[in-house]
Symmetry: none
Amino acid sequence: MKEKLAAFKVEMGEIWDLNMAGALLGWDQQTNMPPNGAEERSEQLATLSKIAHHKATSDEIGKMLDELLVYAKSLEPDSDDARLIRRSKIDFDKMTRVPSEKVAEFARVTTLAQEKWVQARAKSDFSLFRPHLERIVELRREYADYFKPYDHVYDPLLDDFEPGLKTADVKDIFSRLRPQQVKLLQAIAARPQVEDDFLHLKYDDKKQWDFGVDIITRFGYDWNAGRQDRSAHPFTTSFGIGDVRITTRILENLVSSGLFGTMHEAGHGMYQQGLAANLSRTILANGASMAVHESQSRMWENLVGRSRAFWRFFYPKLQAVFPAQLGNVSMEKFYKAINKVEPSYIRTESDEATYNLHVMLRLELEIALMEGTLKVADLPEAWNTRMQEYLGITPRNDSEGVLQDVHWSGGMIGYFPTYALGNLVSVQLWEVINRDIPDLESQIEQGEFGALLGWLREKVHRHGSKFDPQELVQKVTGSKIDPQPYVGYLRTKYSDIYGL
Amino acid sequence: MKEKLAAFKVEMGEIWDLNMAGALLGWDQQTNMPPNGAEERSEQLATLSKIAHHKATSDEIGKMLDELLVYAKSLEPDSDDARLIRRSKIDFDKMTRVPSEKVAEFARVTTLAQEKWVQARAKSDFSLFRPHLERIVELRREYADYFKPYDHVYDPLLDDFEPGLKTADVKDIFSRLRPQQVKLLQAIAARPQVEDDFLHLKYDDKKQWDFGVDIITRFGYDWNAGRQDRSAHPFTTSFGIGDVRITTRILENLVSSGLFGTMHEAGHGMYQQGLAANLSRTILANGASMAVHESQSRMWENLVGRSRAFWRFFYPKLQAVFPAQLGNVSMEKFYKAINKVEPSYIRTESDEATYNLHVMLRLELEIALMEGTLKVADLPEAWNTRMQEYLGITPRNDSEGVLQDVHWSGGMIGYFPTYALGNLVSVQLWEVINRDIPDLESQIEQGEFGALLGWLREKVHRHGSKFDPQELVQKVTGSKIDPQPYVGYLRTKYSDIYGL
């Protein structure tokens, strides 16, 4: 059976290679590709995806898996091999439900849709993007239907990002979360606002870039296994454990945007860089789920990056780089400014108290699109109405509204809730970390992140996707995904800042 | 039959996509990849190459081609479809002659050889590289033997780079060329040398980059279908007609290196950008041969870029960018400096009058290696003897001698002559262009290159590899590859510069 397993790994390794090649083509498209390359690139991505899908869904793999499943029962259940076989079988069953032509069509449609979305957002003209999104919604509904029977049409989409999680679970978690967040937001709104004008002065692009690089280097982001580039929407991607790339976007008139965006992506990047080397070229060489991934990025961005301890170390350095802008601003004033709560249009720039509301809005809209109770043509209006309802503001145009995020253009319906779930998981982990590393705060004050990263690697990163997200969270924290720690964290933090 | 042809094109399109994806992985490896990505990247490249080769040599393609060849006879012989079918058949027969294991072995041996060559060159120690080159020569001889009967063992190798050309043709061309070039070089050596110290002052990297970009933008390099990056060795690659990328290397202590290197790669790039759009995703979407490709790069670099007319336009601009370095240097002095003839060790840095001698030396040595009349062990001595004979200098060590070029370590025996042939073709084309565009020189003096690029697109670029190199040169110039125009060009140019 060992030879069978070895042969299986060779096959799976080749599929992995094809997918990594596709990821590089995608990264390049967003960072480097000249505009005229789009059409041929979309063919190339479609071909890679088609061949990978064809191989991954072949009868040969199916037969190998049936034999290996029996073998897996003789293995230690949490061993890499047992987990690899079981996870491969789940993926195989999922993939064999969807015809290859559909997969190829989806790749073509979304590649083109992303180009159109870039144009539409630049012109703030939703109509340029609309037909492409309509086609994407149709294709996603067809996709879900391959998984009938389901409890909810959104379940199969969600499962692609959060294995094992159901729409009902998410609705339950969010229904407990939302009233508490809305209540907190109202309490904050009743208090005097903190000042943050100084964040909006002109901050030199290159100096911001360099400062961000310095921060994430101290975090432990490994430049021998990664690099940072610019893109319209920051993201992390990897082409193996040894090549994990992040992108960032610097705004010269808002210093916090690039800084926290850079920390966020580095959080994703360090997760991928921390996978056990022996998982390379297998489907386990990935995060446990998007929510667990987001727990890492949000932890470095918010629990670390927006804390007082962090800025006790970094603020004097930031002042030294930007003396004209920050020389007369106290650390306490800066700390409050970067934690200012204010309903705003752009999710990626929103504060911790409003962020989840942005996510819930998207979740509700995409569920409605999938259910067919909302038409794509009506999406901008529905977006604006909900923004007014939850956050009390209405976007002035589509590029700061419905066109702001790349996800739908890439066909990633089912992805958004993972952002909010990631916030919840980050605080669940943070509570355990602080028990295990009692002097964490003073380490952070000294710019030391080694123990923190070491803990994350040991408890989370190295496992890759061996465990489902709920299983991993349970294993590490002793409970499933739970909104209460996050709500408690927000209350404590903002009670202090806003004197609630 | 139209459906058969369409089905064939789908298959060939997918092979093309895989090859283009591989090219992107290769480009990224040389421009962006972090060091730890190397191992997984080599697996990815091997997988893409394996799948593409497997598809390209499948029985299915073979059967399709047999049927389509009959159909091709009913088509206009120079139509895209007829040419595509015939060229595909030739490639298929070539590829299927060689067993896959041999192809894989060759890939393994050359990958290792390239590593060893890097070490050998760094230590200037040929003995480290010798056993690997011995194996490569053996494997290349075996490769040639799959194509028996042949007139010369070197023919099958040459054919990979110059379809249709024979070793006898190349020998004939070079035997007419060499004595004339050697004689010219001797005449130049008897004259006082021109001065070029000012080229070696410190020239700011970014200003050089920007100046190069300005030049090639005026040439007509299309930034919507390309980009420029940095790499250790400049090269051009493409992932389709809409995405043709060049790289450059700027030296702060030698302004001519980056400038002419940039023009050279832009010449390759504009060729690829000028392919007819309907050739996309077929094997015809490429240059006619390496020599024809080189004719384009050398034309823009030398016939345009090292001409007086060119600098009449650009020199005042260059002086304005570098007033401290060039403010007191006359255009005439600058023109002579960039055309200085001086025997030197390194091919890539040699001038127009000596360049072909570097190439002939390599050609003669690799033919002798293939014939078995020269042993690899005796190669360094043979190299040095010929350097003395042709150029009057002897390398001080192997890294500036026999180890300088990457080609042999990559198994690319048969490639070198294309560099010299490219020079010859560039001047053959140039003579026709000057007949067709009588005021070309005054256009260049005004920084106008539209008519020139238009001519090249119409006569050369758009055809891709529909025609064999000799066929294309004949078609455009009325004669086959011929050394006389090039010799005439050199004589005129250097008689003027050196007062012969």
